[in-house]
């Protein structure tokens, strides 16, 4: 498919000083591209440059066939609408009036709203589920409501592309999700191309077709979330040295407790996760086993401990794995049984608990 939005060797920065160069983006119509990366990494700089709020330093930007520099202001306004981070507070202005401002490129010299314009205002308000806010004073809204109204204003501009700079900042989780769902809908139903920046990597992976990692002098990576987020890319992007990011869960684990393991945790099937995390909070290094590699517990145990005995999925646990685990268990001062039921394949775990009892190692049982 022919890309609708395109940058070619774009270099951006302030006052003629290059911050990021060689940005090459190709984005088809109706796709969502999310910029992720640390604060001050240049996400806003890129967004401001493609919306002409900042002069590009070199390279080219295309919306449709036409170069960004060639668009007349009003024609560009029909192509691209924005939701900015500026805190705006117009006084004595209703939400409907704010949304109606989006009709600017379409109305006559005096800004008279035709019935068609008014219908567009109403539709935009309905889209963001804010029709009931129409008469409210914009200044009296909560952050979540205000952001929805600003999005409605952008939609009311009937653009081909919407550019949003950190639209979820200040929003609680419910409004974050609501906002991103609206964007997804717009992209799918109306074929609107969406370019935004987000702090939440997990949400970015879920909502976006493509991710662009922004850090350093040139963009770190561009591709689908699956391509971009694997192999420690997130840790590197944000400079996380101790903590880690789990791509499958889209969640972050804090730093591993350091030192020789003092507690051995026997778990599986998700029962281990709360135990691991509580040990991490106490700063107690622990060992875990025996965990199947397709077990959810395995994902977290791996992130929080260097001493995890694992078994390949769908095969009974072996004697070798048991010996490895037993050695670790005997080196620990105590054992925790997370309460995972024992069946045909994980019988070795029952043997580990038995061993602890025999050797007189203190054994605690959770989730009875």
């Amino acid at each position: 498919m022919e890309p609708y939005f395109k940058t070619e060797q774009l270099a951006v920065g302030y006052d003629g000083r290059v911050l990021i160069h060689d940005i090459d983006i190709r984005l088809e119509k109706g796709k969502i591209l999310t910029l992720i990366g640390p604060n001050g990494g240049g996400k806003s700089t890129i967004l401001k440059s493609i919306t002409r709020h900042l002069q590009t330093i070199s390279g080219r930007v295309f919306f449709g066939e036409q170069d960004l520099r060639q668009w007349q202001p009003k024609e560009l306004a029909k192509q691209v609408a924005v939701v900015l981070t500026d805190r705006v507070r117009p006084e004595l202005t209703t939400c409907a009036e704010v949304v109606a401002m989006g009709r600017y490129p379409y109305t006559n010299l005096f800004g008279r709203l035709t019935p068609g314009d008014k219908a567009a205002v109403q539709e935009a308000l309905e889209r963001v589920h804010a029709l009931d806010l129409a008469q409210r004073d914009f200044a009296s809204l909560s952050d979540g409501q205000r952001q929805r109204i600003l999005l409605a204003r952008a939609l009311c501009q009937e653009p081909e592309t919407i550019v949003l700079d950190e639209p979820t900042a200040y929003l609680d989780i419910r409004y974050k999700i609501e906002l991103l769902e609206i964007l997804r809908e717009m992209a799918q139903e109306k074929g609107i191309t969406v370019i935004l920046s987000l702090h939440e990597i997990d949400l970015a992976a879920k909502v976006s077709d493509y991710l662009l990692c922004v850090k350093g002098e040139t963009v770190a990576a561009l591709g689908t979330p699956e391509q971009v987020l694997g192999g420690g890319a997130v840790e590197k992007l944000y400079g996380m040295e101790q903590s880690s990011y789990n791509r499958l869960f889209g969640s972050v684990e804090l730093a591993k407790p350091v030192g020789a393991p003092r507690v051995f945790v026997v778990a599986g099937g998700g029962r281990g996760i709360p135990v691991y995390r509580s040990l991490q909070k106490q700063g107690t290094p622990f060992a875990a086993g025996i965990l199947y590699e397709n077990d959810v517990d395995y994902q977290v145990a791996q992130a929080l401990s260097d001493n995890v005995v694992s078994a390949p999925a769908f095969w009974p646990m072996t004697d070798q794995q048991f010996r490895l685990a037993a050695k670790l268990l005997l080196s620990c001062a105590s054992v925790i049984d997370a309460g995972t039921p024992v069946g045909e394949f994980n019988r070795k775990n029952a043997q580990l608990l038995q061993l602890a009892r025999e050797k007189g190692i203190p054994l605690t049982k959770c989730n009875p």
């Binding site: 202001p73 924005v82 705006v88 117009p90 109305t107 019935p115």
Partner: protein, 352 residues
């Protein structure tokens, strides 16, 4: 049909606007009648109507009453009304520019700048120009307004907070005042006579020439502001949004400053510095309208400013008659409390 009804409700109906306009027009008529009626010679409303009629049809006769009406009171109150409106719209445009309701030509020192240049013109250039026409005063005031506006704009890039900018504006105003005083100290006595009366700020001694000039400049100026009402409405969201909706921000900002300076220059040149009208009147108007829609606020502000200045002038010339107060004295008494109230309320809103 039903949908159409919903649509009109969605964006609020203009009913309130017309009600406010009606009220202001009524007040304007009351103000006009009272202003003509009250004075050292009182003329009854019925007499005013018949004299106006005769005057328009047959020309002014030579009776004392008629002379007072046509030579003194009518031009004076018309000048007060037009300049009051102009000052309000000028303040409103500055408020749009700074996106802050506490901006106005007086508090930002712009009126004082205009006064300074007019003072210098009256004192020094008057010798070369012979007699000073009102037009040259307006030009001088315009130059002064632009000069000080650009100084304030330079500072506005350095300081973020509006209160700092206000302090700077007041300081700049004092510097201009000092320069004016300096010039007066070293000027010839007979040059100063011109100046003192004017620099107090008064509508007294208004001539039809001045009324004509004020109308010729201020009415088109106000209409120009009205023509900008579409970008003004969007500019309230900030430059970023304004640009993304297709406004050419720079020319628009220049237009705002030029119009605002022109309007306040007319006022300063023809009536002297008048304080607080530019902030208080747009605020009162917005509160009456319960809206910031520029297409409503601009005409209503103009009307409201006319009424406000008309009444203030009435008080200025009658309360301590035969002594006249400076018009700025009266507008300050009513205008400054409004500004204080606004600042206090705003501070609360920021904290909440």
């Amino acid at each position: 049909m039903k949908e159409k009804q919903e649509n009109t409700q969605l964006l609020g109906s203009p009913r309130r606007f017309w009600a406010v306009m009606g009220l202001l027009t009524l007040l304007l008529v009351v103000m006009l009648v009272l202003n003509v009626n009250i004075g050292s010679v009182s003329i009854s409303p019925g007499r005013i109507a018949s004299m106006l009629w005769d005057g328009i049809i047959h020309g002014v006769d030579s009776s004392t009453e008629s002379q007072i009406l046509f030579r003194i009171r009518l031009p004076r109150l018309l000048l007060a009304a037009i300049l009051g409106g102009a000052l309000s719209v000028s303040g409103y445009l500055l408020q749009v520019f700074f996106r802050n309701p506490i901006a106005g030509p007086f508090v930002l020192g712009i009126s004082s700048g205009a006064k300074m240049v007019v003072g210098i013109t009256l004192i020094f250039l008057a010798r070369f120009l012979g007699s000073v026409r009102p037009v040259s005063l307006v030009l001088a005031a315009f130059a002064g307004s632009l000069l000080i506006t650009s100084v304030v704009l330079l500072f506005s890039q350095k300081v973020r907070s509006m209160s700092m900018l206000l302090v700077i504006g007041i300081m700049v105003g004092y510097i201009c005042g000092a320069v004016t005083d300096f010039c007066i100290t070293f000027a010839d006595d007979h040059d100063v006579v011109n100046l003192t009366n004017w620099s107090m700020g008064t509508f007294s001694g208004a001539s039809w020439e001045e009324v004509g000039l004020a109308a010729a400049l201020c009415l088109p100026g106000a209409l120009g502001a009205l023509a900008l009402c579409k970008p003004i409405s969007v500019y309230a969201l900030g430059e970023g949004y304004a640009q993304s909706m297709g406004i050419r921000v720079k020319p628009f900002r220049v237009a705002l400053i030029l119009l605002s300076s022109l309007l306040s220059a007319c006022v300063t040149a023809l009536a002297g510095p008048i304080s607080f009208v530019g902030i208080a009147v747009p605020h009162i108007t917005r509160s009456l309208l319960k809206s910031s829609r520029p297409a409503w606020v601009i005409p209503a502000s103009f009307l409201c400013g006319g009424v406000f200045c008309g009444f203030c002038d009435l008080l200025a010339r009658t309360v301590f008659a035969p002594t006249e107060l400076a018009i700025g004295t009266v507008t300050s008494v009513f205008g400054a409390p409004v500004v204080i109230y606004m600042m206090v309320r705003r501070r609360k809103g920021e904290e909440a």
